[in-house]
């Protein structure tokens, strides 16, 4: 096994036993990036000098017996996380020269544990997209099939796990942007409950939905990463001040007696037969492990995508008003006056998908349309949230596909935004409800493309879905299969 193939917990053991140093691990990872990333395009910025300096510091810490779970582990960050002194673009031309003066909280917490930041990962521009094709820095290729999309918007964070160019990564999830790429790249991706992880220093897209989470090679690694970044932060007033449990404590507890719900509205016609087959096999496996399976109803599921594209775009149009060419970011060279400078800087700096969403959101909030669109969507959001609360009266977790189909070809859906939006139909409701969910590898189709299964938990039920995910992973080999590139 190569160094770059190791999980966090495997690498941690080797570092502790002095079989491996962080400098060696970091060099191996940087060499791997150099060797394969030109095919994948998962990285926007690689930071070898800083990474090696952090690795040296980590080795000293381990030698002094002062290691934390992530000390010396090479990690990558979606380029939505602001990093002090390291360019942070959010996949956009408008931020292509932005060097943040501070670290966001999640990044600071990884650094406090001694994690080694190897670089900043490519993504859909401002996290708006489901295929990682809207980046100013070019499309990302799926390591399982380079002609296919890795999913989005955290496509680089997932592709780097599949290509083994980072041991673990952080992404963000507003409508499925961690879980859908994790599913398409056969890795573990966890979207925590809204409020579980601070968004301070995370470039905002839709503030009532955005959440930070890890993408990893296995379930244990996801628990380690979540434990490192979760918890209250006074710099994010939406972070919730409830204690962070030890996510490893009950990981191996099993699923005997666990009540697993299958939402009738997710097992519908049009679901890809191979995805359906993978879900059926997973359900049988859980039954065999002693879980109790029953059908539940989420009656407002079909309204989720419409609700999301009103709420998210409205919030985006407001959040992205800050990009005006005054304090940071791109400014046009050809402005005639101040208003013209705003309009031209934004026209030159934003790509098509971002403009489309700003336009939709501005329209939904504009005078005369606010009640019909934005307020209506917020009311339907209440109904969707109630669906989940009702379902969780009956069961402990929900088991669903992550996406209706495996990955699709790059270019296939770029001309039809609505079709692209509908690919997030099984992930979006979770963000609207604000609860937690994860994607884990559950098989491959005949073409060799990964299929993920989604476990949805109660609010702040991350430990419970991690336990359920681990029970599945322990009985399967899907997470061990490696993309050949």
């Amino acid at each position: 096994m190569e160094i770059f193939d190791l999980t966090i917990h495997e690498m941690q053991a080797k570092l502790k036993a002095k079989e491996l140093s962080s400098v060696e691990a970091t060099r191996a990872m940087l060499a791997r990036i150099e060797a394969v990333d030109q095919k994948v395009n998962a990285y926007i910025t690689v930071t070898p000098e800083q990474a090696l300096a952090e690795a040296e510091a980590a080795d000293k810490r381990i030698a002094a017996g002062d290691g934390a779970p992530l000390t010396g582990i090479p990690v990558g960050l979606k380029d939505i996380f602001v990093t002090k002194g390291i360019r942070t673009t959010c996949g956009s031309k408008i931020l292509s020269n932005f060097i943040p003066p501070y670290d966001g909280t999640a990044v600071a917490r990884l650094k406090a544990q001694g994690a080694v930041i190897v670089g900043k990962l490519n993504q859909d521009e401002f996290a708006m997209g489901s295929s990682s094709e809207s980046s100013y820095f070019g499309a990302i290729h799926n390591p399982w099939n380079l002609e296919c999309t890795p999913g989005g918007s955290s496509g680089g964070s997932a592709a780097a796990i599949a290509a083994r160019t980072a041991t673990a990564t952080l992404g963000t999830d507003t409508g499925g942007s961690i879980r859908q790429p994790a599913s398409h790249c056969s890795c573990v991706g966890l979207k925590p409950t809204y409020g579980r992880v601070s968004r301070y220093g995370v470039i905002a897209y839709a503030s009532s939905l955005d959440q930070v989470g890890p993408l990893t090679r296995d379930v244990r690694d996801a628990a380690i990463m979540l434990g490192a970044v979760a918890g209250y932060d006074r710099c994010d007033s939406t972070s919730v001040d409830t204690p962070v449990p030890d996510y490893l404590a009950n990981l191996e507890a099993g699923v005997k007696g666990l009540k697993i719900g299958l939402p009738a509205q997710y097992y519908i016609e049009g679901l890809d037969p191979e995805v359906k087959g993978a879900m059926d096999r997973a359900i049988e496996l859980y039954k065999g492990l002693g879980a109790e399976i029953r059908e539940v109803q989420l009656p407002h599921t079909e309204y989720a995508v419409a609700t999301y594209y009103l709420v998210a775009t409205a919030e985006a149009s407001s959040n992205l008003a800050r990009y005006d060419g005054v304090r940071f970011g791109h400014r046009t060279e050809t402005a005639k006056g101040l208003a013209d400078m705003f309009a031209k800087s934004r026209a030159e700096g934003f790509g098509a998908e971002v403009k489309r969403r700003i336009m939709l959101g501005t329209y939904a909030l504009s005078s005369g349309y606010y009640d019909a669109y934005y307020l209506k969507a917020q009311k339907v959001r209440t109904l969707i949230q109630r669906d989940f609360l009702n379902a969780f009266q009956e069961v402990d977790v929900l088991l669903t596909p992550v996406a209706p189909t495996p990955s699709f070809k790059l270019g296939e859906k770029v001309g039809d935004p609505l079709q692209m939006y509908l690919s997030d139909i099984f992930t979006i409701p979770v963000n609207l409800a604000g609860t937690c969910a994860m994607s884990i590898p559950a098989g491959f189709n005949e073409a060799g493309l990964p299929i993920g299964l989604q476990l949805i938990g109660k609010p702040f039920g991350e430990a419970e879905i991690l336990t359920a995910a681990y029970a599945f992973e322990r009985e399967t080999e899907w997470h061990k299969r490696k993309a050949v590139i």
Partner: protein, 95 residues
């Protein structure tokens, strides 16, 4: 038609986005199709339903009004496209 080209032009002005003729055409068609799709929400009776603005119920987060550390002026100006002394500079606003 849910939205006309003229309305799209108006929204672009509100959003401070200069759009090309071609972008206006494309966005008019695409926004029309998306607005037709979101129309399905009207099938739901939402009378008396309280809107959800946030996933987790939250009160105002108060804290003592004490000055803390903030960015130094050079750091705050470091990313500015144009600046002079301790100010951001912009094109002339008043003739």
């Amino acid at each position: 038609m849910k939205i006309t080209r003229a309305e799209v032009e108006h929204v672009a002005r509100l959003a401070r986005l200069e759009l090309s003729e071609q972008e206006l055409d494309t966005f008019t068609a695409q926004m029309d199709s998306i607005l037709n799709y979101v129309e399905k929400l009207n099938a739901l009776d939402t009378d008396g339903i309280v809107p959800t603005s946030h996933a987790v119920p939250m009160e105002n987060a108060f804290r003592p009004d004490q000055p803390g550390q903030s960015l130094d002026v050079p750091d705050a100006l470091a990313n500015a496209p144009h600046h002079a002394e301790s100010f951001f500079t912009v094109p002339q606003v008043i003739e």
